[in-house]
């Protein structure tokens, strides 16, 4: 196995400079996903690796009045240590489901979003919360909604050539929310997926409604969400049934087992709006 050249940037500017000089360089922070997937004694790495785990700029987390901003190399354990007052409950619930405490001390939020080939636990919650990711390259910074990490056919599509540096989560209050993980808990398999649901009500009217589901493929349907928003609560049995049917049709591209579980979870979420 060829030895990779590992670069230890001293700061973010240095990291971006190395990325410019070495296009296609592999980016490594926590490494849990890459190391777990390979399983064997030695780890196959790209010829050039940029090790960003210790970059101070990527390890900060801060709270403003409207946002929680999290550096991409903040570990899941550090994120949970921010406490319930800082962390939106839906996101807290999602990251609590990641691995064991020992894995949460390594895995980073940026890595959880940038994992190749599948969506990990944090995406559905961040999608419901309209989370943003900052992508940096030599040209500057771009903020994009995490929903844009979904490519064709619901597959993961993390843009190449940039570095995820921060994740911004709006601190809006949600009246009703739920998060469920299906499949093995501590390590992802094709049967693992996470369902997130959030709704906001005002004077008996559903003013916002979001559902996101992701495993190897992701599903979020703004069209179905829009069809429900504005309705009076509780939803009637007929309304719930129409929405559930729309979601069943939208989920037809998922593997059968996950599609069925998704249907049950949607019905359970709609049940929360009917009661």
């Amino acid at each position: 196995m060829r030895d990779a050249e590992v670069h230890f940037p001293k700061d973010l500017a240095d990291a971006l400079d190395i990325m410019r000089k070495r296009p296609g360089i592999g980016i490594l922070a926590g490494g849990t996903d890459l190391f777990r997937e390979q399983g064997g004694r030695g780890i196959a790495l790209p010829d050039d690796v940029l090790f960003v785990r210790d970059l101070a700029e990527l390890r900060r987390a801060g709270l403003t009045e409207r946002f929680l901003e999290i550096g991409a190399a903040v570990t899941i354990a550090e994120l949970l240590e921010l406490g319930e007052s800082a962390l939106p409950p839906l996101l807290a619930e999602a990251v609590r489901g990641i691995g064991t405490p020992a894995i949460r001390n390594l895995a980073t939020l940026g890595g959880n979003l940038a994992a190749s080939g599948r969506f990990m636990d944090s995406w559905p919650a961040l999608a419901c919360l309209d989370g943003l990711v900052e992508l940096r390259d030599q040209g500057g910074a771009t903020w994009m909604n995490v929903n844009r990490l979904v490519g064709e056919g619901g597959r993961s599509a993390v843009p190449e050539g940039g570095l995820i540096t921060r994740i911004r989560v709006p601190l809006e209050k949600w009246d009703i929310f739920a998060l469920r993980k299906v499949g093995p808990r501590n390590y992802p398999t094709p049967d693992t997926a996470v369902f997130a649901f959030a709704a906001r009500t005002d004077k008996g009217i559903l003013v916002d409604f979001r559902i996101a589901f992701a495993g190897e493929l992701a599903l979020r349907s703004p069209a179905i969400e829009s069809s429900v928003i504005g309705r009076a609560l509780p939803l009637s049995a007929r309304e719930s049934s129409t929405v559930a049917e729309s979601y069943r049709a939208a989920a037809s591209f998922l593997p059968e087992g996950l599609s069925l579980q998704f249907g049950v979870l949607v019905e359970s979420a709609l049940g929360m709006l009917a009661s």
Binding site: D3, G30, F35, L45, T100, P101, L106
Partner: protein
């Protein structure tokens, strides 16, 4: 590349390949077998070490990732007062872990007690998920960690009182 770090309290340096997992590197370069590369996917917990004071699965850490950091393996941890407290707590409560999970459970318990001196059964079971093994009844493990917590608190109280 040469990786310099603190291992069980001593400054050390050794050559590592970029492909090395920390668990393999510790055995090959330093002859330490406390962290065992078994599942190599972070699941079995046999490779647990403390990295800068935090419990991690060393099979998921690149060897080059410990550059400038502090690593404590079970060999180092077994010399500490925390280990003695936990071993005594486990013995008193009747925890008879097998050779597969014994060291990992002690380290997981130490990591938990450092953060939560009086942990709940739920917290204990969550930390014990770092070393999943069915050799011992979970209720006995909970009692073992709670007993260790009491022993540890008494020791820290005595030390603070001096």
């Amino acid at each position: 590349m040469t990786v310099s770090f603190i291992l069980n309290g001593e400054d050390v340096s050794a050559r590592a390949r970029s492909a090395d997992r920390l668990s393999d590197f510790l055995k090959r370069a330093f002859g330490l077998s406390g962290a065992i590369s078994d599942c190599r996917c972070g699941h079995c917990g046999r490779c647990l070490v403390f990295l800068d004071g935090r419990l991690v699965t060393s099979c998921l850490v690149p060897a080059f990732g410990v550059r400038g950091k502090e690593v404590v393996t079970f060999e180092g941890f077994a010399q500490t007062a925390d280990y003695i407290d936990i071993a005594e707590g486990f013995k008193t409560a009747g925890v008879e872990s097998c050779g597969f999970c014994s060291s990992a459970r002690c380290m997981a318990a130490a990591a938990l007690l450092e953060r939560r001196p009086r942990p709940s059964p739920k917290e204990i079971l969550e930390y014990m998920s770092c070393a999943p093994c069915r050799c011992t009844d979970p209720e006995i493990i909970v009692r073992g960690v709670q007993t260790a917590a009491e022993i540890r608190s008494r020791r820290l109280y005595r030390r603070a009182g001096r």
